[in-house]
């Protein structure tokens, strides 16, 4: 594999991790527009632990995930009480606050950035990404993901059917943040340098955009969205400035035609039947 190809794959991996971090709460209808903030928490925590405390990657990166998840749990009460646009704004603001804190935090280099000495190889990035994909796909086979969908669809009905709406939403939000934290920790150790600007609003917003583009009805949507986001700009190598504009235009066009995202559950069931995975309902129309 050429260095260029590896580089593209690495970017794809980070985009996939960010995508699933956004996806989990989004299944329950919660838009987290501050995902970059949670990545920053994971990145700085893990980097600090390897740099200053001599921790190994194997413990520092999960610790970064825990820190991001822990913060999500702490802010869940005030933030998840809000809905719709207010929830989006609250997470957006939180992302900004986190970024501003790291920009001024001297122990991790403040505005000068923070060099990270321990290195995470491409293989490490690939393996962790694969593990996260497996984890989220595994979750999609459980009642947990189904219940998140039920909550997004109709909170009141979900509650009256006995679901712990609040607890499930907090769990989805926290798990998503933990995945972002793990992604951030790996990012820090793979690129060996982090600064607050890496975890920008743009990162948060683009992630939400390509997750929506891929679709949140199935677990494969975010993967397709991340693939699209990582590869299409590479194919459109038409000048640095223009390719993001073209990409954004493409997204708007896709959303107009297919607001539910590229991958829908109905489409997936159709494909499943085509390959005989699950027999079509015998006589669905009696």
């Amino acid at each position: 594999m050429s260095g260029y190809q590896t580089g593209v794959l690495i970017i794809l991996c980070f985009n996939i991790m960010a995508a699933y971090a956004v996806y989990l709460p989004l299944v329950a209808g919660q838009l987290n527009l501050g995902i970059a903030g949670f990545m920053a928490i994971g990145a700085y925590t893990a980097a600090y632990l390897t740099n200053e405390m001599g921790w190994s990657l194997v413990s520092a990166i999960p610790a970064g995930g825990l820190a991001a998840g822990g913060l999500a749990l702490l802010v869940a009460v005030p933030i998840l009480r809000t809905h719709g646009i207010y929830l989006a704004l609250a997470t957006f603001a939180l992302g900004q606050v986190i970024s501003a804190v790291f920009l001024n935090l001297e122990v991790v280099g403040a505005a000068a950035g923070y060099p990270v000495s321990t290195y995470a190889s491409p293989l490490a990035v690939f393996s962790v990404t694969a593990a996260i994909v497996l984890f989220v796909v595994g979750l999609s086979q459980t009642r947990f993901t189904l219940y998140l969908t039920a909550i997004k669809n109709d909170r009141l009905v979900a509650d009256l059917l006995g679901l712990k709406v609040w607890g499930l939403q907090v769990a989805a939000f926290t798990l998503g943040a933990a995945i972002a934290g793990i992604g951030g920790g790996l990012y820090a150790h793979h690129f060996s340098f982090i600064e607050a600007q890496h975890f920008s609003v743009q990162l948060s917003i683009y992630t939400v955009l390509y997750v929506l583009l891929g679709g949140t009805q199935t677990v494969w949507g975010p993967l397709v969205g991340a693939l699209f986001f990582s590869l299409v700009p590479e194919l459109l190598r038409a000048g640095e400035a223009w390719r993001y504009v073209i990409f954004a235009a493409l997204i708007v066009a896709f959303m107009a035609v297919r607001p539910q995202g590229l991958v829908t559950s109905t489409a997936l069931r159709g494909i499943g039947r085509l390959f005989g995975r699950k027999p079509a309902a015998p006589g669905a129309q009696p």
Binding site: G138, L139, S140, Q141, T142, R143, F144, L146, Y147, T149, A150, N153, D154, L156, V157, A158, D159, L160, L161, G162, L163, K164, V165, Q217, Q260, T264, S265, T266, R269, K278, A280, A281, P282, G283, A284, Q285, P286
Partner: protein, 256 residues
């Protein structure tokens, strides 16, 4: 709790929304195994009464008890576990999912706990949860719909799928808000048969409905509401001739 204790009892329940008294000192009860119709003109407070039994709203005053137990302030989420299930005026299913996926949510009370929550049961072909859902559909002659997408189904079928979901938790009381609204005569007939089957199982029904023909067929007893107060109660054939009830309906029609 005596043997004669009603399954559901509202005692002097009142509820206001922003100064508007929507339910006024309402008392009625439903005996186990009974099918009671809750009728009255639009805006009489029927849905609000349902909302207080299911816990969506708390009464300002009075008590709601179920199976001899005061549930006035019990969290709405916990009521299904006691045996209280309901449907809404409009069908509220997950449109883009299949029928069986929707029904899995109805099963929740009997498959709760962390282990059940995190079991990747979809990887197990014909898992017992699926078999149970399909069996519940089969019982109602809906077995062929298990893998159909809800949005592709006719309204009458969706309505009945909604009922299957509401009863999967093993409810003893099922509250239906205008179940026959929007159904054609054939669908109404299928719904009637469905409800008869539930009655035969011993499920107690509380039904809000405008179609008096339907009420006559299915209910043993009706409670009539007007402006949040109970104005009459008894068998439909008797209540229908009550002067106060007739004025309430006529008044509502003239006002409309």
């Amino acid at each position: 709790m005596s043997a004669k204790a009603p399954l559901l009892a509202l005692d002097n329940v009142s509820k206001s929304f922003g100064g508007l008294r929507v339910i006024r000192e309402l008392s009625f009860s439903v005996a186990r195994g009974q099918t009671v119709g809750l009728i009255g003109p639009n805006g009489a407070g029927k849905t609000t009464a349902f909302n207080m039994v299911s816990g969506v709203f708390r009464p300002d005053d009075g008590t709601v008890s179920f199976d001899g137990r005061d549930i006035t302030n019990m969290a709405s989420r916990r009521r299904i576990g006691l045996g209280i299930a309901r449907s809404f005026q409009n069908v509220r299913l997950m449109q883009h999912l299949t029928v069986w996926e929707n029904l899995l949510v109805g099963q929740h009370v009997r498959a709760s706990g962390l282990l059940n929550l995190l079991t990747p049961f979809r990887l197990i072909p014909n898992h017992r949860w699926r078999r149970e859902v399909v069996a519940a559909l089969d019982e109602m002659g809906l077995g062929g719909y298990a893998d159909a997408t809800v949005s592709e189904l006719p309204y009458g079928i969706r309505k009945r799928i909604d009922l299957v979901r509401a009863t999967l938790a093993g409810a003893s009381l099922l509250m239906l808000d205008e179940p026959a609204a929007g159904l054609n005569p054939v669908e109404t007939q299928a719904l009637t048969a469905h409800l008869e089957a539930l009655k035969a199982r011993g499920i107690t029904l509380l039904i809000v409905e405008h179609d008096m023909h339907f009420v006559d067929k299915i209910c043993d007893h009706v409670v009539v509401l007007n402006f949040g107060s109970k104005i009459a109660e008894g068998p439909l054939s008797v209540v229908q001739h009550d002067a106060v009830v007739r004025t309430a309906y006529l008044g509502a029609e003239q006002a409309a």
